[in-house]
């Protein structure tokens, strides 16, 4: 099987790289502004209230087009999550390169996983807190 030529780490890195590129591509396709994205908020359509994740796609699009102020106004977590996505693209590509050169030791892999998880928590924490306060208000 062709996958046997590659290590688990290479395959996982490559798969995440594809997913991350898709997120950036999805955001870049649209132009800045109140465009109708194919995915609409379930919460807004059901309850008529905007959820804390609303405006994320618009925020990504605006930030990728260099309009950070507008991006922040759409969703204040959007810019930071985009930073996470872009950083992860660089990290996955770098780790693929390292693994190709057979330098990805167990320690390097553990370091990569730990740092990525920590970075994820730090970046997503404001959004999580927004969700918690939103749920509190709702209940």
């Amino acid at each position: 099987m062709i996958l046997n030529k590659y290590s688990n780490y290479q395959i996982i890195n490559f798969s995440f790289l594809v997913v991350l590129f898709f997120i950036v591509f999805y955001s870049l396709v649209f132009s800045v502004g109140d465009v109708d994205y194919p995915v609409s908020c379930a919460f807004k359509s059901v309850a008529g209230i905007e959820c804390p994740s609303c405006g994320m796609s618009r925020s990504f699009t605006a930030a990728l087009h260099g309009n950070f102020k507008l991006a922040y106004s759409y969703n204040n977590s959007g810019v930071w999550i985009l930073v996470f996505v872009l950083t992860q693209i660089v990290a996955r590509a770098f780790m693929l390169f390292i693994e190709r050169k057979k330098r990805a030791t167990s320690l390097v892999v553990k370091l990569d996983v730990t740092l990525s998880v920590l970075f994820f928590i730090i970046i997503f924490l404001p959004l999580i807190l927004n969700w918690v306060s939103f749920i509190n208000r709702l209940l």
Binding site: V39, A42, A47, I49, S53, M56, R103
Partner: protein
């Protein structure tokens, strides 16, 4: 270099589990968080299968365990999302039912009629302004606690209002928000 001491049993399923779990985790924070249940539950199944294969054929179970942890976290978040969406739907229906019964609450605070004076007017207007601000915060939130909060706010305002005040709460026909009006009688 990564040293693999095991055979490849459960490897493909474990990798699929990790990737699906990662996608589910990211999805669970978006506007369609409840849909993350699809990849996250699939990832749980795949990771369990991966661990089972690894155990039977002396493969590496670590991939399966990692996939299981990520997918359980994603599933929990997606379930919370679903619960919040469910409660929002419940309140929406509750409001619509109230609308069907011509939902209208009128709170009248019969206050002592006293002689009108300019001092009273100032006091009244200030109290009315405070009450309006307080009620303004409640607009748009329709739940069982709302009417209690309104009554509390009116009672609080009543203390500083020497005249009569009427608080009218009506629902708008085509939205889920309620409108709260205060006026001097």
């Amino acid at each position: 270099m990564l040293h693999q001491q095991y055979n490849t049993a459960g490897r493909t399923l474990g990798i699929l589990g990790i990737v699906l779990g990662g996608i589910a985790l990211f999805m669970s924070f978006t506007c369609i968080g409840y849909l993350a249940l699809i990849p996250s539950v699939s990832a749980i199944v795949l990771s369990i299968l991966s661990m089972r294969q690894a155990r039977e054929y002396n493969g590496n179970k670590n991939l399966g365990v990692a996939a299981l942890v990520i997918s359980i976290v994603a599933t929990v978040i997606a379930l919370i999302w679903l619960a919040v969406l469910g409660s929002a739907t419940f309140w929406k229906h509750a409001l619509e039912n109230k609308k069907g019964d011509n939902f209208k609450i009128e709170l009248k605070a019969d206050l002592d009629d006293e002689d009108e004076s300019s001092d009273d007017d100032i006091e009244f207007n200030e109290a009315l302004k405070d009450l309006e601000e307080e009620l303004g915060d409640l607009e748009g939130i329709v739940d069982s606690a709302t009417s209690d909060k309104i009554i509390k706010a009116v009672k609080k305002a009543k203390k500083s209002m020497p005249k009569r005040i009427e608080v009218k709460i009506t629902s708008e026909s085509d939205s889920d928000t309620i409108v709260i009006e205060t006026r001097r009688e």
